[in-house]
């Protein structure tokens, strides 16, 4: 049987007719925007109160003005772990945890709107007062402190990372979906290239793990030399992160359920770790943010903090928060607030120890806040808000201890077309 264009047209039209919009999307969209507007107003007011309480003129001004910010590789950077059997005590578990192990949500910390500092991030609140605490790309140039490296690609940029030798890793994808990573030396000259459908870079940039389209994971050093490889047999396999010599990767079954496995990259041994996938690992604290599969708690948003040494979840949190990153010291996690529905520009910071919500931040006049990351000092969050109705973008830092945010970069314009396509000029480094 060989489909032709007529078959395709008939099938697509036939299947499209199966679906009907039975609700009122206009009411839903207007209602969602109104809820967001209320939240933004509340947060802006809360931020103003916070600012008065600490006798600063505005809640978004002075972080980083007293002392120069330290780069992400400062003393707050995690110590590289060596999770061998002798010092971890417990090797990664070798069996898939039973449902009983993973389905105990425990107490679910929820946001306490009275106690939780709420900070409004806006470009209009003050001048540039800080310095970006994370490496980033702006209009094709990699910025890392005072260093600048022009990237040898102009389109299809998917990610960048610092390498331990001072080089830069550049991840791109073509329109056809072919993903490639390039290893650049410190001057920006390409020294190696490899396929990379998915990749993970460790904190100091000394190890890069990448999968090809057939599901083989390869480990490279900072120079781009391959160190080891593993055939997973799953073309959807993706590296999640590295913990010393252990690489964690996720596989996907036919029903879309994810499972995390470990690979000791000094050899070939692998082991099942846990159902679900790791959003990010923190090497220094030996922790990972675990996203369970949807059947963990249908209709609810949950995550776990997974102890890599113990091979078990420390605690589960369920509610409106979906963390994607750790702060630099691993004491907190940061990610989007999902209670607002899709596309929320609010994000939250929570304790990695007990899940308590510590801060909520919003970009009041932007519809989207596409990325955020823990970086710089221990309690600082770097966020890249899109503001003024998606026509400007900047880098900001928010501090949990002071409950304030600062603008770290002069705002850059986003064209209407790029905004519609969600192509933004600023991209944060992966590490």
């Amino acid at each position: 049987m060989s489909p032709n264009e007529l078959d395709l047209r008939r099938t697509l039209h036939h299947d499209a007719e199966r679906i009907d919009a039975t609700g009122d999307f206009a009411v839903a969209a207007i209602g969602l925007e109104r809820r967001r507007a209320r939240r933004r107003n509340t947060m802006a007011a809360a931020a103003a109160v916070t600012a008065l309480a600490v006798a600063t003129p505005i809640a978004w001004s002075n972080l980083g003005t007293d002392a120069p910010p330290t780069p992400a590789t400062s003393s707050t950077a995690p110590v590289s772990p060596t999770p061998s059997a002798s010092d971890t005590g417990t090797p990664p578990p070798t069996t898939e945890p039973t449902p009983a192990d993973t389905r105990k949500p425990g107490p679910a910390p929820t946001a306490d709107s009275d106690a939780e500092p709420q900070v409004a991030v806006t470009l209009e609140s003050g001048p540039v007062t800080g310095t970006p605490r994370v490496a980033y790309v702006l209009d094709g140039v990699f910025h890392d402190g005072d260093r600048r490296v022009r990237l040898p690609v102009s389109t299809g940029l998917r990610g960048v990372a610092r390498l331990a030798n001072g080089g830069v890793l550049v991840h791109t994808a073509t329109d056809e979906g072919v993903s490639t990573m390039r290893f650049l030396d410190a001057s920006g000259v390409e020294v190696a290239r490899a396929a990379a459908q998915g990749l993970a870079v460790n904190a100091d940039g000394s190890r890069v793990a990448a999968t090809d389209s057939k599901g083989t994971i390869r480990i490279y050093d900072a120079q781009g030399d391959q160190r080891n490889a593993l055939r997973t047999g799953d073309e959807n396999a993706r590296p999640s992160g590295q913990w010393g010599d252990i690489l964690y990767y996720v596989t996907v079954d036919e029903k879309g359920r994810t499972s995390t496995r470990s690979w000791d990259t000094t050899g070939t041994s692998t082991a099942a770790v846990v159902a679900g996938s790791f959003a990010e690992l923190h090497e220094g604290r030996s922790l990972a943010i675990l996203w369970p599969n949807q059947d963990y708690d249908p209709g609810n948003t949950c995550y776990g903090i997974f102890d890599l040494k113990a091979g078990a979840v420390n605690h589960w949190s369920c509610g409106e928060f979906a963390p994607t990153h750790f702060t630099a010291d691993g004491s907190m996690v940061v990610g989007p607030n999902v209670a607002d529905g899709p596309g929320s520009s609010n994000f939250k910071v929570a304790s990695a120890d007990d899940g308590a919500i510590l801060m909520t931040v919003a970009a009041p006049d932007g519809a989207w806040s596409p990325s955020w990351r823990g970086a710089g000092s221990a309690d600082a969050i770097v966020v890249v808000p899109v503001s003024k109705r998606d026509t400007e973008q900047t880098i900001a830092s928010c501090s949990v201890s002071t409950g304030t945010c600062s603008t770290d970069l002069e705002a850059v314009s986003v064209s209407s077309e790029d905004s519609a396509m969600m192509r933004y000029p600023i991209m944060l480094s992966l590490n």
Binding site: R9, T11, A16, F25, A29, W291, G299, V338, P342, G343
Partner: protein
């Protein structure tokens, strides 16, 4: 800081509501074909319309607001960011309904072909939907997907090759 309701707000809302009520079926079906999933379709349409509502003053002046909103739907669906987030979203009111043809109709060629279309890589499926459901030209499809005409040809031909090959395997 927050948006102040101006004198034109009510008119804007009425205008937006009228547009959405007239177009929501079409947008939902488009989102369903692009995502191959009813829940994703609902989310994609919600995202697109919420974003459109924010900019309605500008969008309603466009000759083809549909094209703008469909572009958001496509872009959102292809975004890695949303894929990661998708699993975390809290779904609320039932806005879409999907009929289970398998329960009423005998297995058909269409159903089998759709099952294979649904398993295509997102970009290839998007190209097929734009070319054969929306009946867009290769140039229009390229503009929608933000890629070259050559890429559209590649996506389309790879999708067709893949469908032929999987259907051949299924019937072997």
């Amino acid at each position: 800081m927050g948006k102040v309701k101006g004198p034109g707000e009510d008119g804007r809302e009425t205008d937006f509501t009228a547009y959405v009520r007239a177009r929501q079926d079409g947008l939902t079906r488009f989102a369903y074909l692009v995502s191959a999933d009813a829940e994703s379709a609902k989310d994609l349409v919600q995202i697109a319309l919420t974003k459109a509502y924010l900019r309605w003053d500008r969008i309603c002046e466009l000759e083809a607001p549909d094209a703008y909103i469909r572009r958001i739907i496509i872009n959102e669906h292809l975004s890695w960011w949303r894929k990661a987030w998708r699993r975390r979203e809290v779904t609320s009111s039932p806005l879409v309904e999907i009929s289970d043809l398998a329960a009423t109709d005998p297995p058909s060629h269409d159903a089998e072909l759709w099952a294979h279309i649904a398993r295509l890589p997102p970009m290839q499926r998007a190209a097929l939907v734009l070319r054969y459901y929306e009946d867009l030209s290769e140039a229009q499809t390229a503009e929608f997907l933000g890629c070259s005409i050559g890429s559209v040809k590649t996506h389309t031909s790879r999708a067709m090759d893949r469908l032929r090959s999987t259907l051949r395997e299924a019937t072997a």
